[in-house]
């Protein structure tokens, strides 16, 4: 009884329950429909490496960019009470920069013109600069986050195309494909490992700095934070720069997957899934308190859902509609209105037998 009650009460670790319950429901559904969903097998891929495969591995693989983005999006949401809708365009820019550095201007270069790590770092710096641009608009000029990031949302893909003179560079170096695929000898998708590193880093940062407290304080009460010596402008700015870094990492994964780029398609609509991950994690999109783990779980829930739908051979065109239905159900169930009603109902149920006894 105690346990059930805590589901409906707000705050604390109960926030984690929302994505966990969603995961369980999806898992249960798949278990009933086809237990084969959970099969993980060792196989050999086209490159001749031994890798793990199965639907669960697909989820871990493709959910990873989203999980990385969810980290930054959670911080931006918490600090500014708004969302960055330019992350998809940002990934296009970061990816384009990485390819440009690797090819050195020749889109059919046979050899890498720069080490991958250098290209990656430059991509991250550029992505963080664009994050800083968003951050300045939101934090200093007090433009609504969605409006401010609409600028890059609109212009970002054109900028990405312009960086490579509208050419589509192709990287022939097989090592570059490791980041979006598998490293020989490691059967786990590299993307998942990258996401794991990101998650560990952010959890360490949250533990060993005051980022969490500052972000939440600014998101909840900016004026009071200022009177306590915080600089709300800087805190919000920082959140956007961190999201920029996440965008840079996701950009590497995205271009590595196909060893090339398609400016108009790469990471399309990923911002919406990233925002959804934050919401599914039970975090208020109006800012304030957040739970990082819940957001990351939320990201994997979304990928779980997408993969499930693919498994049942839902047409790619129809996918968003199915997704929307499931999302509506999840979001409504986790809304405060429903949880208040449920807890009221629960109290009533609990009271009725007591009355009969008395």
């Amino acid at each position: 009884m105690q346990k059930k009650k805590s589901i409906f009460s707000k705050g604390g670790n109960t926030q984690l329950l929302i994505p966990i319950i969603a995961l369980l429901i999806l898992a249960l559904f798949n278990l009933i429909a086809d237990p084969g969903f959970f099969k993980i097998s060792l196989g050999v891929n086209s490159a001749g490496d031994t890798i793990l495969s199965g639907y669960l591995i697909t989820i871990l693989d493709y959910g990873s960019e989203l999980a990385i983005l969810a980290i930054g999006m959670t911080l931006v949401t918490a600090a500014s009470g708004g969302q960055d809708i330019s992350v998809g365009a940002g990934i296009a820019i970061a990816g384009s920069v990485i390819l440009r550095v690797l090819c050195g201007g020749d889109s059919r270069a046979e050899e890498l013109q720069a080490p991958i790590i250098v290209a990656f770092l430059i991509g991250c710096v550029v992505a963080m600069l664009f994050g800083a641009f968003n951050g300045i608009l939101v934090a200093y000029f007090k433009i609504q986050p969605m409006v401010a990031t609409l600028i890059l949302y609109t212009a970002g893909r054109s900028i990405a195309a312009w960086i490579n003179n509208n050419e589509l560079p192709v990287i022939k170096e097989p090592k570059f494909a490791y980041f979006g695929g598998f490293i020989p000898g490691v059967p786990v998708p590299t993307t998942f490992l990258i996401a794991l590193v990101c998650v560990v880093v952010i959890l360490l940062v949250l533990k060993f700095t005051t980022l969490g407290l500052y972000t939440q304080a600014v998101g909840i009460n900016e004026s009071s934070s200022r009177l306590n010596g915080l600089n709300p402008i800087f805190v919000k700015f920082l959140a956007f720069v961190i999201l920029g870094l996440c965008v840079g990492v996701a950009g590497l994964i995205k271009v590595s997957r196909i060893s090339s780029i398609n400016y108009s398609v790469i990471a399309k609509d990923i911002e919406m899934d990233a925002i959804l991950a934050v919401a599914l994690g039970g975090n208020a999109l109006s800012g304030g308190k957040f739970n990082m783990i819940a957001s990351i779980l939320g990201a994997y829930v979304i990928q779980f859902l997408t993969t499930t739908l693919y498994k049942f051979e839902v047409q790619a065109d129809a996918l968003p509609a199915y997704k929307a239905v499931v999302v509506i159900i999840l979001v409504v169930i986790s809304s405060p209105v429903v949880s208040d009603k449920l807890s009221a109902l629960w109290k009533k149920v609990k009271k009725t037998p007591a009355k009969e006894v008395g």
């Binding site: 700095t209 005051t210 407290l213 500052y214 939440q216 304080a217 004026s223 009071s224 934070s225």
Partner: protein, 485 residues
């Protein structure tokens, strides 16, 4: 608001006075139909046989009651004439020439230096205010309500506005004038109605109510029965008791206060007093760097310091408990623990987080010390009562171990028991060597805690009282100022 009688005669300027929360705005909102009256009480208007029914602002307008609010509610990008006629006639078709001519005529008759086709935003604030009044007057109003119309005007503009009010008065319009400025009341008004705590204190002819009495009525203290309270606190008597901890010279902030000088000694409790809106909060906010400091210099322990941001004040050992607990104090969704450690944490810096166990220790220590009633240190602060929230904020600043603590209305909106606890605590801390500045709307609280009072009126320092002079009477007469003794 309960049981208030209010009478306004033709051709009279009637001041509505009272402190914030006394019910002035409520009365106005009932008169203009924003709030419905609850069935008890009636409104009678000349020319109507039965009681008037005012259920909406439109009803009020039809009955000839017009209101001009503190904030100008016109459209700055329309012309003067458009602003005067917008939302009035039932005509679907606009006769622009007729409208502009009509507007010009009114502007002339009221002597307003503006033309009908001018864009409103090109007029000064005072002219805009007058145009708002002209719009109200043109709606054939019998009753004109001016809700703090002078708060954003300078002296010259106020003079112009008063000229216009006198003209209207001569034309037989009854004017209700709400203001915080005592000088202005005595300049233009004929009668004063004083409200306090939602109740009527009385209606007075201006000649019968000298300033001191008006202040007494507003504060709810009759001059006769004011007992003088002597504080029995022990005074800090260290060797450095005479050392000036903080000193400000010509300090001025963007919050529209006149430059002021100020100092505080070690272990001293002093205070800023004055009516609400007199600038006392703005003064301490300037000291703490909460508002943008635009002039003046400050010294801490004799050394010049530059305090333009709260963090700089905190680094200099200055703490500030803000006036508005909800807006500036609590971080609502965060736990009591996080709220307590916030200031200290910010002071320690980004890379030195207070460990969870240490934070619990601090929180538990202060929950016990200040007797904060909370379920646990993890409870969100917003679910605590006002008094306990205030104690948490106080704990936040005490944890910082400040040399100089500024308390702006720490006792507002909290129960009497907690009020006394907080005052005792301040005195106790002062006796241990902390300096404190205390602001309260309740004069007896100030008398009980402060050994020196800086008196404010109309956003400037008008006096300083200490020792023998610290009496209710003296404070009131200083607040009232003018020719009163």
């Amino acid at each position: 608001m309960q049981n208030v009688d209010f009478t306004l005669c033709e051709g009279e300027i009637h001041a509505l006075m009272g402190e914030n929360g006394a019910g002035k705005s409520t009365l106005i909102k009932v008169l203009t139909g924003v709030y419905p009256e609850d069935g008890e009480g009636t409104i009678h208007i000349k020319g109507l046989d039965k009681a008037a029914v005012i259920r909406s602002p439109q009803d009020a307008q039809k009955l000839g009651i017009s209101t001009v609010y503190q904030e100008i509610t016109l459209c700055p990008n329309l012309t003067v004439a458009e602003n005067m006629y917008i939302g009035r006639g039932n005509n679907k078709v606009m006769n622009w020439k007729k409208m502009n001519d009509g507007a010009n005529k009114i502007l002339q008759s009221l002597d307003i230096p503006a033309t009908a086709t001018q864009q409103l935003s090109s007029c000064s604030i005072a002219i805009q205010q007058m145009i708002a009044i002209a719009r109200a007057v043109d709606m054939e109003c019998k009753v004109l309500i001016l809700d703090e119309p002078t708060s954003s005007l300078d002296d010259n503009e106020v003079e112009k506005l008063f000229g216009m009010m006198r003209d209207l008065k001569a034309k037989g319009v009854g004017i209700i004038f709400v203001t915080h400025f005592l000088d202005q009341v005595y300049e233009v008004c004929d009668k004063i109605t004083v409200l306090r705590d939602g109740k009527l204190v009385g209606e007075f002819v201006i000649e019968d109510l000298p300033r001191v009495k008006l202040v007494a009525k507003m504060l709810g203290k009759e001059l006769d029965d004011m007992s003088e309270i002597k504080s029995e606190n022990t005074v800090y008597d260290g060797d450095d008791a005479d050392q000036v901890i903080y000193e400000a010279e010509g300090l001025q902030s963007a919050a529209k206060i006149k430059p002021f000088n100020f100092y505080i000694k070690k272990g001293e409790v002093n205070g800023f007093t004055g009516l609400l809106g007199s600038g006392r909060s703005e003064c301490v906010r300037a000291i703490f760097g909460a508002d943008r400091v635009i002039a003046g210099s400050a010294k801490k322990n004799g050394k010049p310091v530059k305090i333009t941001k709260p963090i700089e004040a905190m680094k200099n050992g200055i703490a500030y408990l803000p006036e508005d607990r909800k807006v500036d104090g609590i971080v609502g969704d965060l736990s009591v623990r996080d709220n307590i450690i916030l200031a200290l944490q910010v002071l320690k810096g980004f890379f030195h987080p207070i460990s969870k166990s240490q934070a619990y220790k601090f929180a538990d220590e202060y929950i016990k010390k200040l007797e904060i009633k909370t379920a646990s240190a993890d409870t969100p602060i917003k679910s605590l009562s006002g008094g306990n929230q205030q104690k948490v904020i106080l704990a936040r600043w005490l944890l910082m171990n400040p040399e100089y603590l500024i308390l702006d209305e720490p006792t507002r909106g909290i129960d009497i028991g907690t009020k006394i606890e907080i005052q005792k605590l301040v005195l106790q801390l002062a006796s241990e060597g902390m300096s404190a500045t205390f602001i309260s709307s309740e004069t007896d609280e100030m008398l009980r805690t402060c050994s020196r009072l800086v008196v404010m009126r109309d956003r400037k320092v008008v006096g300083e009282l200490s020792g023998e002079d610290l009496t209710q009477n003296k404070i009131m007469s200083t607040i009232a100022g003018g020719d009163q003794k």
